[in-house]
């Protein structure tokens, strides 16, 4: 009995084995068919891929194009002074009648201030290049064009070309990144609308400390004839120290002292001292209070006499959310020891200005700003004239425009 069972089991199992092998064979056949068709498909796709190769791209350099952005700035403005008279305005002691250069927001009515083409590109493993081409309605200007190192040792960085000096706080920032459309009076008075911007060279070093401590030195041509301007040789040298501390996660304090030494058009020395302080309290991701102030003093030796003049601005900006912010700024000329005899009996004391603004940013790339200015620094048509101004400005940055510095 046992034997027969054993035998039959054996026979059955061999039978099963036979049919198993058959099934396997069939499966193998099937698979090899699938493989074959897949191979065909792959070959076809490979062929297609080959055809897709852009054969005209052998020398294409498109991937190396620089970041290019278009920045447009325009305004609608109303001022209680005629345009022709405003052009002839003077700031006593600083800007004489007819010498006011007004590239931005000059006219009651509409102003296209500039179309700026901003470019940035990595040059190679050692240099980065930047350029800003300012296109005013009837003028082409190289705002900035410079290279800067990326890989120097010992926390050093060198910048060369035409650039905005890092003197002070607002000097190196572009107009479109200011909190107010107008330039602080003391900057406008001492340097004109372009601030300190010249061909030159800059070296910056960050100290190996846990607290941010940066030392900078610059040598520049000194073409700015409001304060310097002796261009027989390069005449302007600057130095500054900037430091910053955080208090908690939300409050950051940035301070700086700056010094500029140059030769003015009388070939005598001009020294300018600056201190700046910025506090920023972060109230949330999109909300902050920023308080920024600067004080500048100029000692200008004119040979026979020496001028001592100073002024400051202080601005408070409240950023409510990512769309809305508002701000207030106070500007003042605090010292004006110079020859003011040409103004005769005109009151030239207490030169100051109040500015308020409200800003709406539908998106980080566009900005509408409504501002009101009460300006008490102007002498117009031989009398002290307090100017009221309401302005709506629009600024857009389209294209590849990098983030701004702090």
């Amino acid at each position: 009995m046992k034997k027969t069972v054993c035998l039959s089991v054996l026979v059955f199992s061999s039978l099963f084995a036979d049919s198993d092998i058959e099934i396997l064979k069939k499966q193998m056949e099937q698979q090899s068919k699938t493989m074959h068709s897949l191979e065909k498909k792959v070959a076809f796709l490979e062929q297609k891929e080959k055809q897709n190769v852009n054969t005209s791209a052998s020398f294409s350099q498109n991937a190396y194009l620089p970041d290019i952005a278009l920045i447009l700035n325009m305004s609608a403005l109303n001022r209680d002074v005629k345009n022709s008279e405003y052009e002839q305005a003077a700031i006593p002691g600083f800007i004489d009648k007819g010498e006011m250069h007004l590239p931005f927001n000059k006219d009651t009515g509409f102003n296209l201030n500039y179309a700026e083409v901003a470019m940035h590109s990595v040059v190679d493993p050692y240099f980065e290049a930047f350029a800003n081409f300012h296109l005013h309605p009837d003028e082409f200007e190289i705002g900035e064009a410079y290279v800067q190192t990326t890989s120097l040792p010992y926390s050093l960085k060198i910048k060369a070309g035409k650039f905005k000096s890092s003197f002070g706080r607002i000097n190196k920032k572009h107009q479109h990144s200011w909190h107010f459309d107008s330039q602080p009076i003391i900057y406008k008075s001492l340097f004109g609308p372009d601030s300190i911007s010249d061909p030159g060279i800059q070296v910056q070093w960050i100290a190996p400390t846990d607290t941010y401590l940066m030392f900078g030195a610059e040598a520049m041509q000194g073409t700015n004839d409001r304060s310097f301007g002796d261009t027989d040789t390069n005449n302007l040298y600057m130095g500054y120290i900037k430091s910053s501390i955080d208090i908690g996660d939300d409050l950051s304090i940035l301070g700086g002292v700056s010094f500029a030494h140059g030769k003015n058009t009388t070939k005598n020395t001009t020294n300018i001292y600056g201190i700046d302080l910025t506090l920023r309290e972060q109230l949330g991701s999109y909300s902050a209070i920023i308080w920024q102030s600067e004080f500048l003093q100029r000692d200008k030796d004119l040979g026979a006499k020496s001028d001592k003049q100073a002024g400051f601005y202080s601005e408070l900006v409240y950023q409510y959310n990512n769309n809305y912010s508002m701000g207030f700024r106070y500007d003042r000329i605090s010292k004006n020891d110079t020859d003011l005899s040409s103004y005769g009996s005109i009151d030239v004391d207490n030169l100051d200005r109040y500015t308020t603004m409200m800003e709406y940013k539908p998106f980080p790339m566009s900005r509408l700003r409504l501002s009101y200015t009460y300006d008490r620094t102007k002498v117009i048509a031989d009398e002290r004239k307090n100017v009221n101004e309401v302005m709506l400005s629009l600024n857009i940055a389209a294209g590849a425009h990098g983030a701004h510095d702090y």
């Binding site: 990595v122 493993p125 980065e128 800067q148 990326t150 890989s151 120097l152 040792p153 926390s155 050093l156 960085k157 910056q204 070093w205 960050i206 190996p208 400390t209 846990d210 607290t211 941010y212 401590l213 940066m214 900037k242 910053s244 501390i245 955080d246 996660d249 950051s252 940035l254 920023r280 972060q282 949330g284 991701s285 999109y286 902050a288 959310n321 990512n322 769309n323 539908p362 998106f363 980080p364 790339m365 389209a398 990098g402 983030a403 701004h404 510095d405 702090y406």
Partner: protein, 291 residues
Amino acid sequence: MKKIMIFMVLTTALFAKVNVDTTYSTLGAIVKKIGADKVKVTVLGSSKYDPHFIVPKPSLLAKLRRADLLVINGGGLELGWLPPLIRNANNAKIQNGAKGFLDISHFIPMIDIPASVSRAFGDVHSQGNPHYSTDPHLVLTIAKAIEEKLVELDFDNVEYYEQNLADFTKEWNKFLTKYDAKMAQCSGKKVVQYHELFNYFLKEYHIKSYGNIEPLPGISPSSKHTIKLMYMMKKKHIKTILQDVYHEKKTAEFIADKTGAQVVVIPHDMGAIGGQTLQEFYNNIAKQLCQ
């Protein structure tokens, strides 16, 4: 005297840690897991803020100046704040392209890559959705990339880093097994989000997101869009709104009030809502989302 000097130089060289800066805290925590005692980790962006809009405070320059390695999230998330900091930190080691610069997004299979990019569609990330760190299944991919970079920079400690990665892999796989089991019960859940912050996580656990509170990425909510969203939520019976810690919560609460949905605040990065470990961070997400 000379001997002491040499000894001092040698010991500082021996015990010198690799200074690693990371842009966000989840990345920092993973670096700590792999580097442990051999690294000093500094996180630049606080997790209580929108990762797109970290304020580029000058104090961060002092931190970047001394970094040997900068680990970034990438995918455009740091575009609005990090480039000027790197430029002004005067540190050759961490420049894009240098050995001490690591962009983790290059190791991640990015999702939501747009076919075409225009700012007409809002703040679109051309390289895909950069918010991958909410997916616990990508932690080991990140850890591996960091381990390879640390080995490259600090080859003397190759065994140390390898061992840490092996240990962490074991620990994390164990965690994931439990985690996946927990999340399985929420598979098929329907949600809406404020910003597309959690897509990687939702995809991993088969949770479907039907829309966003912001009409376009980076654009504040509008009443028209909100009404549309509420209508859709009612029709599709969506009962969960995913809110992050840094956007305004009023809109989500308004929608919840009108539709009977529930607002759950989900951390987008480690530490955004308590929790100082990776496990706590991911458990927090699960707890909020899958309750």
